[in-house]
């Protein structure tokens, strides 16, 4: 690791001030991606602002039509939360299968979204559920948040505070796990609610994306067979040693159909 100064602010206000004080200072959430990147010198920063003491980012609130989760809530806490299990069980299940136990015990919702790893699970949920990302400055709709490979709409010094999920009528997430990294080789999140169907894909391209052809077909008829013949283009998909682009395209089709089936089964 290159050297850095370390700060552990007790309030969001102090954290924002510290980030503003040093150019290229970085917030540290659970550190399950940032710490390895610092160790391998893939990332460096003059100052690390640890958000770990910010209790104000650690609440979960379930209301009639909305579930709001603080950015500092850890994956294992989302997986175990009664409110999440009642209001948005698909998200509890997704969180229970991120990485491995040790990663889930440290990694946070806000950290995962700010990192926007192309194979992370949470971005698919946020995009398919049309969630809103709240920061210390503004509210960003999911459709405007994920802008590219490890890129988001966040500005320097901006901190995610919470994520607001509208509760869907039904939803499911199915992923094909890459067994070595435990990331999604491909993951598909399908949701129906608020008069629309949304399908979000992670793991397949440089950032999470929606499949509007499938959304349209599912809007007409929400059933696996409705999308069986929707052709998924391999054009902009990743090819690497784990899977070729055409294989990923095939997986998207298969997993999307399974996700629709699971959503209908009420699992």
């Amino acid at each position: 690791m290159h050297t850095f100064d370390y700060h552990r602010p007790a309030t969001l206000k102090d954290a924002v001030a510290l980030l503003k004080k040093t150019e290229n200072a970085r917030p540290l959430a659970g550190g399950q991606s940032l710490t390895p990147a610092l160790k391998m010198r893939l990332a460096q920063t003059p100052a690390l602002v640890d958000l770990g003491a910010l209790e104000e980012l650690r609440t979960i609130k379930l209301e009639a039509a909305v579930l709001t989760i603080g950015a500092g809530v850890r994956h294992s806490e989302v997986a175990e939360s009664k409110d999440v299990k009642i209001g948005l069980p698909v998200l509890a299940k997704l969180a229970a299968h991120i990485g491995d136990r040790q990663v889930r015990n440290m990694g946070t919702l806000g950290g995962s979204l700010a990192n926007n790893d192309p194979a992370a699970d949470y971005p698919a949920a946020v995009l398919a559920l049309s969630a809103t990302i709240h920061t210390n400055r503004r509210s960003i709709p999911a459709d405007k948040f994920f802008t590219g490979l490890y890129e988001t709409a966040l500005k320097p010094g901006e901190i995610i505070t919470s994520v607001e999920f509208p509760l869907p009528k039904r939803a499911a997430y199915v992923k094909f796990k890459q067994p070595a990294s435990r990331f999604a080789l491909v993951g598909v999140f399908v949701s129906e609610g608020g008069g629309q169907v949304r399908v979000a894909v992670t793991g397949a391209a440089n950032s999470v994306f929606r499949l509007k052809d499938m959304e349209k077909k599912l809007g007409e008829k929400f059933a696996p067979e409705a999308i069986a013949k929707v052709k998924v283009s391999a054009d902009k998909l990743n090819s690497d040693l784990h899977a070729a682009a055409d294989y990923r395209a095939h997986l998207i089709s298969v997993l999307a159909q399974r996700a629709v089936g699971e959503a209908l089964g009420g699992k």
């Binding site: 550190g31 390895p36 040790q102």
Partner: protein, 165 residues
């Protein structure tokens, strides 16, 4: 830059002035000489460095020591009984030959203890799935899985006994 970190390790209060780059695994091994926490891959993959942070399994090579400020850390050295008797999960690993070279064992045991607490009636499939943060290059996992199942059963027995007693 040097920062002061205070935490509780195996029940004892510890304070150290450290470079903020110090990993929790380094603090445990090099400052506190608790070398039961092993560094295997040093990239957050293998789980040999697993310890408990406020009762939850974490990878100590993937955590800055400063992130454990104010926390309770338990290492493999801190789980035995008052008279040095093995923890039920350790005893099960010995009984079922859940190790060969033993390098991954401290991390396996620490993860397995939380696994058993979260899934007291875990079946084999659950144990295999929930152990996926820990790699063993010797055993092929069969005896580790047997050991975790047996250790989990013994742990729930002793919890029941202590509740009754």
């Amino acid at each position: 830059m040097t920062v002061s970190v205070s935490l509780t390790v195996n029940g004892k209060a510890v304070t150290a002035d450290i470079d903020p780059r110090t990993l929790l695994a380094q603090l445990l091994r090099e400052n506190l000489h608790l070398t039961g926490t092993h560094i295997g891959c040093d990239t957050g993959q293998c789980g040999a460095c697993t310890v408990h942070l406020n009762g939850r399994a974490v990878k100590a090579c993937n955590l800055l020591a400063v992130q454990a400020h104010g926390a309770n850390v338990t290492t493999i050295e801190g789980i035995c009984g008052a008279h040095g008797e093995l923890h039920p999960m350790q005893a099960a690993f010995r009984e079922h030959h859940g190790l060969q070279c033993g390098f991954c064992t401290p991390g396996m045991v620490m993860n397995a203890i939380e696994l058993a607490q979260k899934h007291p009636n875990a079946n084999e499939a659950t144990v295999r799935a929930e152990l996926d943060g820990n790699l063993c290059r010797c055993t092929g996992y069969h005896n580790i899985v047997k050991a975790v199942l047996a250790g989990a059963a013994d742990m729930s027995k002793s919890v029941n006994n202590s509740v009754k007693g």
